[in-house]
Structures are given as structure tokens and as C-alpha cells.
Amino acid sequence: MADNGGKKITLKSSDGEEFEVPEVVAMESQTIRHVIEDVCAKNSIPLLNVNSKILSKVIEYCKKHVAAAEAAASKASTEEGTAAAASVTKPSDEDLKTWDAEFVKVDKGTLFNLILAANYLHIPGLLDLTCQAAADMIKGKSAKEIRKFFNLKNCISPEEEEEIRRENQWAFEEEKRTRAFDAYA
């Protein structure tokens, strides 16, 4: 690994932009790791499913996490005793978590594209982070609020909708129906 410390790989986005990154950063993606290790190392890897905007974000994530892992590893090797090492890595864990939280503060479209990219490139940490962020957007919202937030249309027929509502009524008992129709009562 130390020998490849300076080796760079070029990643090419779907819209033709090229990103030169250290190999170790690119290998955060299991997909790219397989291409490099199994399919013979290529100097330039085209990623047909990821555009430049998303790819630059993905690379930013990988760079940060590789740097954080290296920092933690070097600190652990210099500190004596696990207690001291544990107390040193804790603040950097917190810093990374804060950085991650800021990283996913993006618009919905970008977030969903990041999810797809993380899945395609097989980067478990990024997939987990982005899926959790998307789930947090959904949590606690009613069906109507979710529809509004993601600008979705309700294409369920009234019969089906009534059936689902009745089935799930027990979970939402306390939520009142809107007064729209009560005006005509």
C-alpha cells in the first residue's frame, strides 16, 4: 500500500469530466477496487452512471474519510495504552460525524443522486449516511406531508386508499382528518 501511496487514478464522469484522485481514495469504492484489482489496473475509469457534480461530492467524501482513517491510525500507533488512544480518537470521531452531517445538507435531488452513486460505486459508509439522511427527511411526516415535500402525486384509487387507511387506522388514530369536507357537513 505504501508503494501505491503516490499512484493516481483518473475517474471520468458520465458528462466527460475527469477527476484525478489518489488510488487509495478511489478504492473506497468497492466497484472501483474490483476494476483496479481484478480487471487489470486502468489509468482511466469511465463511470457512466455518475455525473461530474455527484462524482465530485463522492470524491470529497472518500478523501475526507481516508484522511480521517489515516489520522486515527497514526495517532493510535503513537499513543501508548488503549485508554489514551480511545480518548484521542473520540474527538476526531465527533469531528467526522459533524463533517458527515454537513456533507448531507444538500438539496433532495442531489441527495438521491448520491444514494444511487453510493450504491453503484458500492461505498457502504456513504450509502448508509445518505440513506439515513433521506430517511430523516421522511420520518415523522404524514402521507400528505411526504407527498408535498417530495412533490409526488397520489395515484392511488379512492377504494384502495380507503382500504389502506382503514388497515392502518390503528396506527394513526389520533390524527384528525382535515376539515375540508367538514365545511360541507
Binding site: 480487471v39 444511487l116 397520489n154 394513526f172 369536507f181
Partner: protein, 406 residues
């Protein structure tokens, strides 16, 4: 101007028996024979109209109601194809492959070669991830799904990445999501792996009973592996027995604070479950509510040790803290109950995170009645000052200074 295929839920001043049926009279326009439905659960000013095929106007207004078309097009008064050029399909106007380069095939081949050169990306974890990145709306995962249910007719309108996030939602949120639209409904219903691990806590725990518990667990379609019910006050032994019967693959059962469950009901149910040719329950959490006698404890440990995969592994220490009943807390243990070294009763026994307590000959391990602990940090507060909270928990002097109390 007649409305052709105008999708709009009828409104009326009269109520039908089943639901509120409103008829909207607007005599200058004709009515489409079949009404589609719109979002019934919305405010007056807010009802969405959806137009299947271009409405011929952008606004309809009448008596206090104003509907704005969502995606209508401008009125089209010109004839469609006056010169019979078939302009609706412009690709046909130009020659298909004038230089005989067979571009489409060669491009397809190049792309498929590249993708085939990548190894199989099928994941074997239990999360509902799809490896085919072009599957826009398919929500079924790779393993053990009885039927794939990618929506066929409904246009996929949900963001592609959304289905991946469904695996991170709890029960109540999944029930909300399945009411949003057809695609999400099918994504939730069609994926039993979303329901492999079910955790019921507040507020659902206050409402769930035997019948609704069975409804929820049935969504796993027999694939349920872990069930956690915290403070489910209306679930009885019989209800739990039905769940066990329908879910042979269950290995984790957590029932802390479920007041109606009894050990005299639970232990025979578990014995019967574990005696069948299934993996059986390997992890059981009972919490602090049960009054466990020595014979109960013997039965339970015998039951679980027979199924234990790592009988000699040293369990991680158990600490007293706010999230101690969560699903992932101390999930390596077969049974959460132990014999308290101090009072010898069968209870939850906690270790001490305090540095000075760790290396002692007489370890700081006891149930919460024998050693008082801080709710936030779990440290023992035998000699130091503490504060008793409103819910009769204790906070050590360090923690009660923090703003995030309870």
C-alpha cells in the same frame, strides 16, 4: 368545451354513505364519465386536480373553489397534423441509419461490455438494495423475495434513490409512506425484507394490540427475524403465540415492559417454538417488569443455551443508560436477566463504567435496586451527590449540570 379524460374527484353537497362525496356542478363544461380520485385528505384551497390528457384551460373556478391544474398544457386550437407528416413521431421523419454505421447496436455493445467487465454487484446483506442501477422503481431485493412487484402501469414518479432509504424507516413511517402513492405503496408492500426486523415503541406501542400486531408482522411474509416490543401494554400471551406460530424464522424477541405478558404464558410458548425444527429464539430480552423466580430463570437459561451459538463468549458489559432497552443494546446476550450478586434475585444487572470501579476485586455489578446509578452516564452514585428526577431516576452531580436532562 367538453372535458375529455378530465380526472377529478366529484364534489357534492351531499354525503354518500361510505365517504364524503362531493359533486361539483359546473354546467358550462361536460363531465368525464369516470372520475379518478384526487387527494381527499387536504384543505379546501389545496385540492389537486390532475389532468390525464391536457386539460383545455389552466384554471377552473367556481363558488369558493379554485382549482389550478397541475400539469396542464396550453389550449391547442390548431389542427394536429395538417400535412400528414406524422410529426408526433419526429424520429420517423429522418432516415434511421443513413450511413449504415449501426450506431445503436455498437453503442449498446460497448456499454454492456463495460458493465459486464465489472463483477457481480449483488449484495447479500439484508438491506433492500438493488444492484441494477437502471431499475427506477423496482423495490424488490435480491434474496428470498416471493414476488417482484415493480409497478407496471403507474409511471415511476418517486425519486430513484428513495426506495433505498425505506430500509431506514421505522414501522409507523413505513405505514405513512405506503399511503403516499402507488409506487411507494408497492415498494413497501412488495418488499418483505423491510419488515424483517420490527421494532414497536412509542407511540405505536400504546395502541398496538394482538390483532394489529399480527397485521404488522404479516408484512414480513414469514421472514421476520427480530421483534422488539417495548411497553406494548395491550399485547397478550395469546397474541404473541400467534406471531410465533406464523414466523418460524424469528430468532430475537424483546418484550420489555409489556405488562400483559406473563412468564407462565411466555415460557411454554417459547418451549413449543424452540422445539420445532426452526432455528428458534436465540436472544430474549425481558426487561425489568417480570417477577422472575429461580425456576423460571432455570427454564429460560436452559431454553436459550440449547440454541446458543457462542456459549462461552464473554458478553460485553451492560451499562445503565437511557437507551438500554433499544434493539441494538447488548444484543450479543442470550438473556438479559442475570442473578444479582448482591440480592441474589433474577434481575437486570449492570456493570459500572467508572474507571475506579473496573479493576476492583469486588466488581461494581448489581441490579438497579442494589446500586443506584446515574441515568445518563451509568456510573454508580453510592457516595457522591445526586439529584432525583421527576420520574424517580437519578442523575449524578456531573450529569445534572448538563442541559440535556431527560
Amino acid at each position: 368545451m367538453a372535458l375529455d379524460e378530465f380526472s377529478f374527484h366529484p364534489l357534492s353537497g351531499s354525503r354518500s354513505g361510505r365517504d364524503l362525496d362531493y359533486r361539483f356542478l359546473y354546467p358550462s363544461f361536460g363531465f368525464a364519465p369516470d372520475w379518478d380520485c384526487v387527494d381527499m385528505d387536504c384543505e379546501a384551497a389545496d385540492i389537486d386536480c390532475r389532468f390525464n390528457h391536457a386539460a383545455q384551460f389552466s384554471k377552473i373556478s367556481a363558488t369558493d373553489w379554485e382549482f389550478v391544474a397541475m400539469d396542464c398544457q396550453t389550449p391547442n386550437f390548431l389542427p394536429d397534423d395538417p400535412f400528414e407528416m406524422d410529426v408526433s413521431n419526429p424520429a420517423r421523419i429522418l432516415p434511421h441509419d443513413p450511413f449504415e454505421m449501426d450506431i445503436q447496436t455498437s453503442l449498446n455493445n460497448a456499454i454492456s461490455d463495460l458493465i459486464c467487465s465489472l463483477p457481480n454487484l449483488v449484495t447479500t446483506s439484508s438491506s433492500p438494495m438493488v444492484s441494477d442501477e437502471s431499475a427506477a422503481s423496482s423495490a424488490s431485493s435480491e434474496m428470498e423475495v416471493p414476488s417482484s412487484s415493480a409497478p407496471v402501469s403507474a409511471a415511476s414518479q418517486i425519486p430513484e434513490g428513495m426506495v433505498y432509504a425505506l430500509g431506514y424507516l421505522g414501522v409507523k413511517d413505513l405505514l405513512s409512506v405506503e399511503q403516499v402513492c402507488k409506487s411507494l405503496h408497492e415498494a413497501v408492500r412488495g418488499d418483505p425484507l423491510l419488515w424483517m426486523s420490527i421494532q414497536i415503541d412509542s407511540p405505536l406501542s400504546e395502541r398496538i394490540n394482538d390483532e394489529t400486531l399480527l397485521k404488522v408482522t404479516r408484512k414480513a411474509q414469514g421472514n421476520l427475524r427480530a421483534l422488539s416490543m417495548v411497553s406494548c401494554l395491550y399485547v397478550t400471551d395469546e397474541g404473541l403465540r400467534c406471531v410465533l406460530e406464523e414466523n418460524p424464522l424469528l430468532t430475537k424477541l424483546y418484550v420489555p415492559e409489556c405488562a400483559r405478558l406473563t412468564l407462565d404464558g411466555l415460557i411454554p410458548n417459547l418451549k413449543s417454538f424452540n422445539s420445532r425444527n426452526y432455528p428458534g429464539i436465540k436472544h430474549l430480552k425481558l426487561g425489568r417488569l417480570f417477577n422472575i423466580s429461580e425456576s423460571h430463570y432455570k427454564d429460560l437459561t436452559a431454553l436459550l443455551s440449547a440454541n446458543s451459538c457462542h456459549p462461552s463468549a464473554q458478553p460485553k458489559p451492560r451499562f445503565y443508560h437511557v437507551a438500554r432497552f433499544s434493539m441494538t443494546c447488548n444484543e450479543d446476550r442470550a438473556l438479559d436477566i442475570e442473578v444479582c450478586p448482591v440480592c441474589k434475585k433474577c434481575r437486570l444487572v449492570y456493570d459500572c463504567p467508572l474507571e475506579s470501579c473496573k479493576g476492583k476485586r469486588d466488581p461494581c455489578r448489581a441490579c438497579e435496586s442494589c446500586i443506584l446509578r446515574c441515568l445518563l452516564c451509568g456510573k454508580c452514585i453510592r457516595d457522591s451527590a445526586y439529584v432525583e428526577t421527576f420520574s424517580l431516576e437519578h442523575l449524578c452531580s456531573n450529569c445534572c449540570k448538563c442541559p440535556s436532562v431527560e
